[in-house]
Symmetry: C2
Subunit: 382 residues, 2 copies
């Protein structure tokens, strides 16, 4: 096991009716910038609950943080927060609103151009406002981690940066009952691949972390078909919501290496083609598994056996079956998992290889996913 530091101070407030706790969780003297996405919270009752909880607070609303939040939009929110002297940010929505709000929380206290916080790593823990979340879409885990991904429309770029973890996050599974099919599928796929990135690496690093990762994967595989049919079963949606948060809050990555090549390739597909993040993961992961099957073979066998019950003696046959089961999971969620089915051309593969070469990327847990290997992965799922 590798040395590690684990520290996740986010307070998780989970369950029915918990949005009302905003009243006491945010000190009354705070001036709150409340950030939203496109407006779905006005139809599912979340907006009304937030308003009711904050009726004695001073707050200002910012609407319109889009999926894959852009610096162009976030600049406007930062401007509003500065104008109104806000000293607390409350994100109400899914992972994009949470991610965007992490930049807003830093940007309000930053004098320069906010994009520099992302690309020049200008973030500072002390120079960020406290941030809290009301989560309405289980997927990214942003509600309980330091990460955020911000896009720049102008240059079709998408980069991660690290911020403070939210002070607290409120997760009421009832808020997910009205999510559209596609967002449910994306949330399930996103959760699944987050776990895979921290798990499908070198075997034998930590038997406990392995079992916790497999525990999330098995749970997601078990509940996904039921959720696709019916998203109003409280216990299933609560399990989904809890799994998504636990998939990317550091709980399953203690002392083990991590991959993230699939994510890095996927980010480029989003930046260049606007494909939804989770959809890119569903496309790329089977390619990563195929191309990296000699490096990842032993762990893939363990994954196949423990998560899907694949028990085939012949190693090559087992690996083919395990990749097929993984693809089947994404197909069951309704994704088209080939690049060519999604309007991506060979020109895009050329561009991604070019960008990775320019950035001198060596991705994956062993730094063996060179730009040429990334190309091979993309061609495999073309």
């Amino acid at each position: 096991m590798n040395n590690f530091i684990f520290h996740n101070p986010t307070k998780l407030i989970f369950g029915k009716g918990t949005i009302a706790t905003l009243t006491t969780e945010i000190p009354k003297e705070r001036r709150v910038l409340v950030t939203f996405g496109g407006g779905s919270v006005k139809n599912n009752g979340v907006y009304d609950q937030v308003k009711e909880a904050l009726k004695e607070h001073t707050y200002f609303e910012f609407w319109g943080i889009e999926p894959n939040p852009t610096i162009e939009t976030l600049r406007k929110a930062i401007k509003l927060g500065k104008e109104k002297s806000c000293d607390f940010v409350l994100a109400v929505g899914g992972g994009s609103v949470a991610d965007g709000s992490k930049l807003i929380a830093s940007g309000i206290l930053y004098d320069g151009e906010p994009w520099d916080i992302v690309i020049k790593r200008e973030y500072s823990a002390e120079k960020s406002l406290p941030l809290a979340c009301v989560l309405t879409l289980p997927a990214t885990g942003s509600e309980m981690n330091r990460g955020a991904v911000i896009s720049k429309k102008e240059t079709n770029e998408k980069f991660a940066f690290y911020s403070n973890t939210p002070l607290f996050s409120i997760l009421d599974p009832q808020t997910t009952y009205t999510l559209p099919d596609f967002q449910i599928s994306c949330g399930l796929a996103d959760t699944f691949v987050h776990v895979i990135e921290q798990y499908l690496t070198t075997p034998g690093q930590s038997p406990l972390m392995d079992r916790w990762a497999e525990g999330i994967l098995k749970t997601i595989v078990e509940i996904a078909p039921r959720i696709i049919d019916d998203r109003t079963n409280y216990d299933d949606m609560a399990t989904f919501m809890l799994s998504a948060t636990m998939a990317l809050n550091g709980f399953i990555s203690m002392g083990v290496t991590q991959d993230w090549a699939t994510h890095m390739i996927g980010h480029e597909l989003t930046a260049l083609h606007g494909l939804t993040h989770a959809h890119t993961l569903a496309i790329i992961l089977p390619g990563t598994m195929w191309v990296m099957r000699s490096e990842k073979g032993d762990k893939m066998i363990q994954y196949g056996k423990r998560v899907f019950g694949v028990d085939i003696q012949d190693r090559d046959e087992a690996i083919v079956e395990i990749i097929r089961r993984t693809e089947d999971f994404f197909l069951m969620l309704g994704f088209k998992i080939k690049l060519s089915e999604n309007g991506v051309t060979i020109k895009t593969i050329d561009e991604i290889e070019r960008r990775f070469t320019e950035r001198n990327y060596k991705l994956g847990e062993n730094r063996s996913v060179t730009p040429a290997v990334a190309r091979e992965i993309l061609e495999r799922v073309f």
Copy 2:
């Protein structure tokens, strides 16, 4: 799933050579009270590492916190801390040193009799000094939770109280290489039963928490025989240490009910007979399982199947086998698991029933372990 609040801000610093991080983790201006147990840290190099790391700090040493720390000893530490105007407490040792130091951290800022902090719940988060731990014995989980158990020799009493979680805890698995056999066995049993108390309750509350609990149990069952043979395998000891911390830091109890009847009965055996905490758990748990088998039957079947691979069709036979496997685990650790083998008489059972009746205890996840049921459990393992 039940509503819950999860909040565990302890920073975990885990791995080889991490004691040296004390130098930077404790601010230089702090006046540190460093608390120790009986002195084993002088033989295994831990004391030297702590001294080296704190050589530029102002610190005062308090020695002699005993297993099942007593208020009588802790009063002396509190007195020293007050005299020296300490404003930081560093516990160096196992769970007893950590537990005792939680009381010390509160007691130094408390004007009254420290025992009141325990029995009158006089603890306050604000009126407690920051506490950190260097853990040398994986067992209680105290290094990453709010709980502590304090004994009073004068009256043979033992009570739990809740404090702040440690600010940070340093876990270097190499510090466990020199632990005596009995402490290793106690640590493994303690970890195992901590998980059981949060898991062996009503089935179907959270499939994810179930799998995480089972993940710890399976891991402990897997590594225990190897550790009994050889405690110098780094990866096994690291897995043990990580499992013990994860067993009682809230990570496996989100949204589910908890039992703790075995612990409550066990505490009395320690208070009245001085039996080591983990040893009392190894004695009592099989009794709890037997007496509560109708209430806990469904979850016991799941536990038996997933942890021990017990796959017997007949329910009664399966339950007998599952209890036998649990007993075998404790026997393999070297415990005598009958009360009568450990010098406990029927008079003790009378006294425990009397105390529980006086306190009007209704224990267990369904409040169904009345004083009479506790007696039945004790008689079962007599």
